[in-house]
Amino acid sequence: MGFSFSAFSYITALIGDAFLIFFAIFHTISFDELKTDYKNPIDSCNSLNPLVLPEYLLHILINIIFLIAGEWLSVCLNLPLIGYHIWRYKNRPQGMSGPGLYDPTNIMNSDTLSKAMKEGWIKLGVYLLSFFYYLYGMISSLIAA
C-alpha cells in the first residue's frame, strides 16, 4: 500500500480545513458578540483583523498543494472562494493602514455587520462541507493507492 501524494494533500487539507473552521467559528462568535453588545468594536476588530490574511493564505496553501497533487476537481471547487477572498480584500474599507478587513468605525453599521455575519455563517458551511469532501477524497485516494 503506497501512500500517494494526493492522499497526503487531502490529509493536509483536512488539517488545514479544521483550522479554517475554527477561524470561521471565531468570526461568527465575534460578530454575534458585537451584535449583542458584549464587546467593544475596537477590541473586536483588533482581534479579528490579524486573522483575516492567515485564513486566506491557509486556504490558498491548501489549494496549492492540491494543484501540485493534480487534484483538479478539488482546486476547481475552491476557486470561487479564492476569487471571493481576493475580491473581498480588494474592496476592504478605504484608508486602513494595517492588514484586515474590519474597520471599527463602520463595523457597527447594521448592513456591514449583518453582511459580515452572513459571510461568517456561509464560510463556516463551506468549510464544513469541504471538510467532509476532503475526508472522502482522502479515503478514496488511500483506497485507490
Binding site: L34, K35, D37, N40, P41, I42, K90, N91, Q94, G95, M96, S97, P104, T105, M108, N109, S110, D111, L113
Partner: protein
C-alpha cells in the same frame, strides 16, 4: 534635533505616505461615472418646454383654489359597522339596478353577496386608508363586481352603461367603479382615456344644463386628450350624477345613516380621485355654504351646498370626503412660487386619543422623516421615502425640567426611561412602550414633587414632559465625574504666522477665560507645534511660563509629568502671561513644517488620565513627523466632475481619534488654511472622537470681517455648554432597529454612541429599518438618552421621547412626510455615498430619490400615467426645491470650481449640523425688506422669497441669510429716503463696495431692521456677520451665487429641474 535614526524613520514615513495614496488610486473598483446626470435632462427639459405649453393653458383655471382644510382626526372604524353598511348598500343597489333594467349577462354573477362584498372591500382597500375600516388583509387589485353600483350613477342611460361594461378592463379602469367606503383609489394607470369618448357627448350636454360656475368647462370636451382635462370632465360628471338620483333626500340635512351610506359608497370614489388629483378643486371655488354634519362613526364630515343649483343634489359626499381626507396636493408645474412666506413647519404629529394630551418632543430636537410610521417594510418601500430620525440632543433649551431623585424609573428589561407615552396598568404598574413589558412603579413615584402630594403618577414631570433631564445617582458613574479640561493645540508654523490667527485666538481665549464652562477644578493647557512640539509648564511657583520643546516628534513624550495642565483659577496670571507672549514668541521663526500628528499624540498622552476637550488650530498641511500628509489636490481639477480624494489618505488620524474616544477625549478642529490642507484626512480626528470641525478658508488677520466671524465662532465655541464623557443611546419600539448613524461620534454598539464631548451645536441622524411588522401596534416610540458629565461635575441624563402613530395607508404615509427632515437625512446619506463611491453617484441618489417619491405618490394617488403636471402632496412641495439646492451645494456640485477642502467641509457640515441650521445652509433664507420700511400702517414681517434673481428689484432692499453671513442687497433705485433712514447715506452710490456694518441710526426703519436681524440671529449659535452690497458693487456675486433656483452654466433652473423630474416620473 532629530537624530539620524529618527531621520531614517522619517524617511520611512514619507515613503509610506507616498505609497499609500497611490495604493488607493489604483483601486478604481467603482463603476465609471455615468454620463453626467444633469446634462441629459437639461436637453430634455428644454425640449419639453415647448411640448408642455398647451397643457399648461388648460390647467390654469381662473379662480382655482387649494383646499387647505385640515382633515379631522379619524377614529378606528369597527368592522361590524362596515358590514352593516355594505348590507344596506346592497339593497339600495339592487333596487337601483332594477330600475335601470340592464341587459347584461354578467350582471347576475356580479351581484354582490354580502360576503363577496366584504371581499371586494378588502380587495379595493389595497394601499389606501385602511385605518378607517380596520381591514387588514388587502389583496391587490379590485375586481369587477362593484360596477353595477357605480355605473348607474355615473351614466344614467343603460346603453352607455352596457358599452362601458363589456370590456372588463374598462370596468376596472372606471373611476367610479370602486366602492370601498372611505377608501382610496387603486393604481389603474391605463384606460381612463378609453372611457371618455363614450362619455363625452353626454357630459358636455349635461354640463351646459348645469351652468357651472366655471368658465373653462365648456371647452373641456375639446381638450380631451390631456389627462388633466379628463379629470375636469370627471368633475363635471360628478356634478351630473346626482340628477339620476333625485329621489334621494335632499342634502345637506342630516341624513339617516342607511341612506347616506350607499350614496357615499357609490359616488365618493370619483370625487376622491379628483380631489387628490387636482389641487384646483372647482367645487371649492364655489361660494358655497359649508355645513357640518356629524356622522357618527366617521367623525366630522363637511358638506358643501351649491346655491346655484338647488335642483341638483349637491354632491355632499364629494365634499365630505374632500374635507375628511383633506390631503392637499399641489401641481408643482403650476405653482412655481411654492415657498411659504413663513417658516416651514413639519406636519403635526397626530396621536390617537390615548396620548392626546401627552406633549411630544419638540420638532427642533427630535424629528422623524415620517410623522406616521408605515406598518411594514413593504409599505415603506412603496412610499420610496427614507425612514430615519434626526436628533439635536444637547440643544440649548430655555425651560428644561430637571429632576433629582434616588431611583430613576426605567424598564427592567430594555432600560427605557419612563416617559409620557407609557401605559399605566394601575397605580403601581406601568407598561413599557418600547418592549411592552409590565414594570413595577416605585413608591416614591406616587409622590408629586410639584404639589408635594401622593397620588396620581401621571402628574410626575417624567410623565408630563417628553424632554427631561435627570441628575444621575452614583450608579451611572464608572469613575468620579471628570473636571472640565481644555487643551489648546496651536499651530505656530510660518503659514500660521502669516495668517496671524494666533493673535485672535490668544486674545479671544484671554477674554473668555472666565466664561469657560467649569467649576473650581477646571484645567487648562497649551501646546504649540511646528516641526517640534512645544509644551508650556505653568507651575504655580514659577513667575513666568516655561517652554519645553520636544524635537523628537516620531516618538513624542511628555517632558514633565505635571504642570502642563494646570488649574485655571490658581494659575490665572501665568496663563494670561502665556497668552500674551505666545503670538510674539514664534514671530521670527520661519519653520514651515508642521508636526500635527506628533502634537496630537502628545495631547492624547497629556489628556489620557482625565479626558476632556482638545482644540486644535491648524493652518497648513501637516507635513512632518507621524501623520504627515502629501498634497493630493490638483488645482486644475477643481471643477471636474470626477472628484477624487474625498476619503482619507491615511487612517492615522482616525486611529488616534478612536484612542482618544476611548479615553474620553474629543478633538475639535479649527482649520484656518490658506492652501490645501487635506481636511478629508484631518477631519477623521474630530469625526470619530465626537468633536466639531470649523473651517475658515483663506483666513487672514487683515480681513476684518473674517476676524469678526472667527472671533464670534470662537467665543461661542469657548463659552457654550459642554458635556463630558457622554454616551447617547437611542432606543426604538420593538420591531424597528437602528441601521446607520450619521454625525461625529464613535458607534460603540448597535444603539450606543460614544461621545467624549457633546456640544449644543451637534446634530445626529439615524436611519431606521424594520425587524418585524408593526401591524399590531398603534404607536411607535423613539427614545434618545444622553448621559453626560456637566461642566459642574454633575452626572446628568437628558431624555427625549418621540411618539408617532402607525398607519397602514400609503397615502397617509406620503402625506405625513416631513420634507426638511427627509432632505436632512438624504444629504447625510449622500455624503456617505460620495465617500464610498463618488459624487456622481451621490447626485444620482438625490435625483432618483425625488423621482421615486413622486412616482410612488402618483401610484398612491392613482394618477394616470400621462398626467401633464407634477403632482406632489402639499407637505412635499418643497422637496424638489431643496434637492436642487443640494445639487448646487458646495458639497455636491460639479462643474463649478470648488476647493477640495471647502467641499469636504461642506460634507462635514451636512453630517453634523442640526436640521434647522442645515436647511439654512442648503437653502438660505431670502427676504424682501421693504415692508420693514413702510412709513404708515402696521409693519408686517418681511416675506420670504424663493432664491431666484427674478425676485430682485432695483427699487427694493433684500436680505439673504445663509446662517454664517447676512447679506443686505440694496437696489440702485431704492427710495433715497429709505437709504437715508437705514444706512445714513444720501444715495445708494455712497455705500462703499465693501461694507460690513449697519449704522445704528435712531430712525424707525433702522431700528426695525436691527430688530429683524436680531430675531434672525436668535436662532443661530452665534451672530452672523453682516455685509451690505449695492447691486452695482463688484462683490455682487457673493449675493447672487446663492440663487439656486436659477440656471447657471452647468446646472438646471428650478423649472427645468421640474420638467426633468416630470419626464422621469413614471
Amino acid at each position: 534635533m532629530p537624530s539620524s535614526n529618527s531621520d531614517q524613520t522619517l524617511l520611512n514615513n514619507n515613503n509610506n505616505s507616498n505609497l499609500k495614496p497611490l495604493g488607493i488610486q489604483k483601486r478604481p473598483m467603482y463603476p465609471q461615472q455615468t454620463p453626467m446626470p444633469m446634462a441629459q435632462p437639461m436637453m430634455n427639459a428644454t425640449q419639453q418646454l415647448t411640448q408642455i405649453q398647451p397643457n399648461q393653458q388648460l390647467n390654469s383655471f381662473p379662480g382655482v383654489q387649494q383646499n387647505i382644510q385640515q382633515q379631522p382626526q379619524l377614529q378606528q372604524h369597527p368592522k361590524e359597522n362596515l358590514q352593516h353598511e355594505n348590507f344596506s348598500q346592497q339593497q339600495q343597489l339592487s333596487s337601483s339596478m332594477k330600475n335601470l333594467t340592464l341587459n347584461n349577462s354578467n350582471f347576475p354573477l356580479q351581484m354582490p353577496s354580502s360576503k363577496s362584498d366584504q371581499n371586494l372591500l378588502n380587495n379595493n382597500n389595497n394601499n389606501s386608508n385602511g385605518f378607517t375600516l380596520g381591514i387588514q388583509k388587502r389583496p391587490m387589485y379590485p375586481q369587477q363586481t362593484p360596477l353595477p353600483i357605480a355605473q348607474p350613477m355615473m351614466n344614467p342611460t343603460p346603453t352607455q352603461f352596457q358599452q362601458q361594461l363589456q370590456p372588463n378592463q374598462q370596468i376596472n379602469s372606471f373611476p367610479g367603479v370602486q366602492q370601498q367606503p372611505l377608501l382610496q383609489q387603486q393604481p389603474r394607470e391605463n384606460l381612463q382615456h378609453e372611457n371618455f369618448p363614450q362619455q363625452q357627448p353626454q357630459m358636455s350636454a349635461s354640463m351646459k344644463n348645469l351652468t357651472l360656475n366655471n368658465s373653462v368647462v365648456p371647452n373641456l370636451p375639446l381638450q380631451m386628450p390631456s389627462s388633466k382635462s379628463d379629470q375636469n370632465l370627471l368633475n363635471n360628471n360628478n356634478n351630473v350624477k346626482p340628477l339620476g338620483m333625485q329621489k334621494r333626500p335632499m342634502y345637506p340635512q342630516q341624513i339617516p345613516m342607511p341612506m347616506a351610506q350607499p350614496m357615499m359608497n357609490a359616488t365618493q370614489q370619483p370625487t376622491q380621485f379628483q380631489q387628490q388629483l387636482q389641487p384646483n378643486q372647482q367645487f371649492n371655488s364655489f361660494p358655497g355654504v359649508q355645513q357640518n354634519i356629524q356622522q357618527q362613526p366617521r367623525g366630522n364630515l363637511q358638506y358643501q351646498n351649491f346655491p346655484q343649483q338647488p335642483q341638483q343634489q349637491p354632491n355632499v359626499v364629494h365634499q365630505g370626503f374632500n374635507q375628511i381626507w383633506g390631503r392637499e396636493t399641489i401641481d408643482l408645474m403650476q405653482n412655481r412660487h411654492i415657498l411659504p412666506q413663513t417658516k416651514v413647519t413639519p406636519p403635526p404629529i397626530k396621536l390617537n386619543h390615548q396620548f392626546h394630551e401627552a406633549t411630544n418632543c419638540s420638532s427642533d430636537i427630535f424629528r422623524c422623516t415620517l410623522t406616521k410610521i408605515p406598518e411594514s417594510n413593504s409599505l415603506l418601500q412603496k412610499s420610496r421615502l427614507p425612514l430615519g430620525i434626526l436628533i439635536h440632543p444637547y440643544r440649548d433649551l430655555s425651560n428644561l425640567p430637571v429632576i433629582s431623585c434616588s431611583t430613576i424609573v426605567r424598564c427592567r428589561v430594555c432600560r427605557t426611561y419612563i416617559n409620557p407615552f407609557v401605559f399605566f396598568v394601575d397605580s403601581k404598574k406601568w407598561k413599557c412602550n418600547l418592549c411592552y413589558r409590565i414594570n413595577e412603579l416605585p413608591e416614591e413615584f406616587q409622590y408629586d414633587p410639584v404639589s408635594k402630594t401622593y397620588g396620581d403618577p401621571t402628574r410626575r414631570p417624567e410623565i408630563r414632559s417628553s424632554t427631561i433631564e435627570f441628575i444621575a445617582p452614583s450608579e451611572y458613574m464608572l469613575r468620579p465625574p471628570q473636571p472640565a479640561v481644555y487643551l489648546f493645540v496651536l499651530d505656530v508654523s510660518s503659514l500660521a504666522q502669516q495668517s496671524g490667527y494666533l493673535d485672535v485666538v490668544c486674545q479671544t481665549i484671554q477674554e473668555q477665560l472666565d466664561n469657560l464652562p467649569g467649576d473650581a477644578r477646571t484645567q487648562v493647557g497649551f501646546i504649540a507645534f511646528n516641526s517640534a512640539v512645544h509644551f508650556y509648564n505653568i507651575a504655580e511657583n514659577f513667575n513666568q511660563p516655561h517652554e519645553i520643546t520636544v524635537l523628537e516628534v516620531d516618538d513624542v513624550f511628555l517632558p514633565c509629568p505635571d504642570n502642563l495642565l494646570v488649574n485655571l483659577k490658581e494659575c490665572r496670571e501665568l496663563i494670561n502671561d502665556l497668552l500674551q507672549q505666545l503670538p510674539k514668541r514664534f514671530a521670527n521663526e520661519h519653520d514651515n513644517q508642521s508636526a500635527l500628528g506628533a502634537a496630537l499624540q502628545a495631547a492624547f498622552k497629556l489628556m489620557s488620565p482625565t479626558g476632556g476637550r482638545v482644540s486644535v488650530f491648524q493652518t497648513c498641511l501637516p507635513n512632518y513627523g507621524p501623520g504627515a500628509l502629501q498634497s493630493r489636490e490638483d488645482p486644475n481639477n477643481r471643477s471636474s466632475k470626477d472628484v477624487q480624494h474625498l476619503g482619507p489618505a491615511t487612517d492615522f488620524y482616525k486611529r488616534l481619534a478612536l484612542d482618544c474616544s476611548g479615553q474620553q477625549i474629543a478633538v475639535d478642529l479649527f482649520l484656518l488654511n490658506s492652501q490645501y490642507s487635506d481636511l478629508s484626512t484631518l477631519s477623521g480626528i474630530s469625526k470619530f472622537s465626537g468633536g466639531a470641525i470649523h473651517h475658515f478658508p483663506l483666513f487672514n488677520i487683515n480681513k476684518p470681517q473674517q476676524v469678526t466671524e472667527f472671533q464670534r465662532a470662537l467665543t461661542r465655541y469657548l463659552t457654550r455648554k459642554i458635556g463630558f464623557e457622554s454616551v447617547m443611546r437611542v432606543r426604538c419600539t420593538r420591531g424597528l432597529s437602528i441601521h446607520t448613524f450619521h454625525g461625529n461620534f464613535f458607534v460603540r454598539s448597535t444603539d450606543l454612541l460614544s461621545l467624549p464631548n457633546v456640544n449644543p451645536d451637534a446634530g445626529f441622524a439615524m436611519q431606521i429599518t424594520y425587524e418585524e411588522s408593526l401591524a399590531d401596534v398603534k404607536t411607535v416610540c423613539f427614545q434618545a438618552a444622553l448621559l453626560y458629565t456637566s461642566s459642574k461635575a454633575e452626572r446628568r441624563i437628558r431624555v427625549h421621547t418621540l411618539c408617532l402613530p402607525v398607519t397602514e395607508s400609503l397615502t397617509e404615509v406620503m402625506h405625513s412626510a416631513d420634507q426638511q427632515c427627509i432632505i436632512g437625512l438624504l444629504a447625510k446619506m449622500a455624503v456617505d455615498r460620495s465617500l464610498s463611491s463618488n459624487i456622481s453617484d451621490a447626485r444620482d441618489v438625490f435625483i432618483n430619490a425625488t423621482v421615486d417619491v413622486f412616482s410612488a405618490f402618483k401610484i398612491a394617488q392613482n394618477l394616470p400615467s400621462g398626467a401633464s403636471g407634477l403632482i406632489a402632496p402639499q407637505n412635499l412641495a418643497l422637496f424638489p426645491l431643496y434637492i436642487l439646492a443640494l445639487l448646487k451645494q458646495m458639497a455636491f456640485r460639479t462643474g463649478t470650481s470648488t476647493r477640495l477642502d471647502d467641499r469636504v467641509f461642506a460634507m462635514c457640515q451636512m453630517k453634523s449640523l442640526p436640521l434647522d441650521q442645515l436647511i439654512r445652509y442648503i437653502y438660505p433664507d431670502f427676504y424682501l425688506l421693504d415692508p420693514l420700511f413702510t412709513e404708515e400702517g402696521d409693519k408686517v414681517d418681511p416675506p420670504r422669497l424663493q432664491l431666484s434673481a427674478e425676485r430682485l428689484d432695483s427699487r427694493s432692499i433684500f436680505l439673504l441669510d445663509n446662517g454664517v453671513n447676512i447679506y443686505i442687497y440694496v437696489g440702485s433705485n431704492t427710495n433715497p429716503s429709505v437709504i437715508k433712514n437705514v444706512f445714513g447715506k444720501n444715495s445708494v452710490n455712497e455705500i462703499p463696495d465693501v461694507c460690513y456694518s449697519l449704522p445704528n441710526l435712531e430712525t424707525p426703519s433702522s431700528e426695525s431692521l436691527q430688530e429683524f436681524i436680531n430675531t434672525l440671529n436668535e436662532e443661530k449659535p452665534y451672530n452672523a456677520t453682516i455685509q451690505i452690497i449695492r447691486d452695482t458693487s463688484p462683490c455682487r456675486n457673493l449675493f447672487v451665487q446663492h440663487f439656486v433656483d436659477d440656471r447657471n452654466e452647468n446646472s438646471l433652473s428650478y423649472y427645468e429641474f421640474l420638467q426633468h423630474l416630470r419626464t422621469q416620473v413614471k
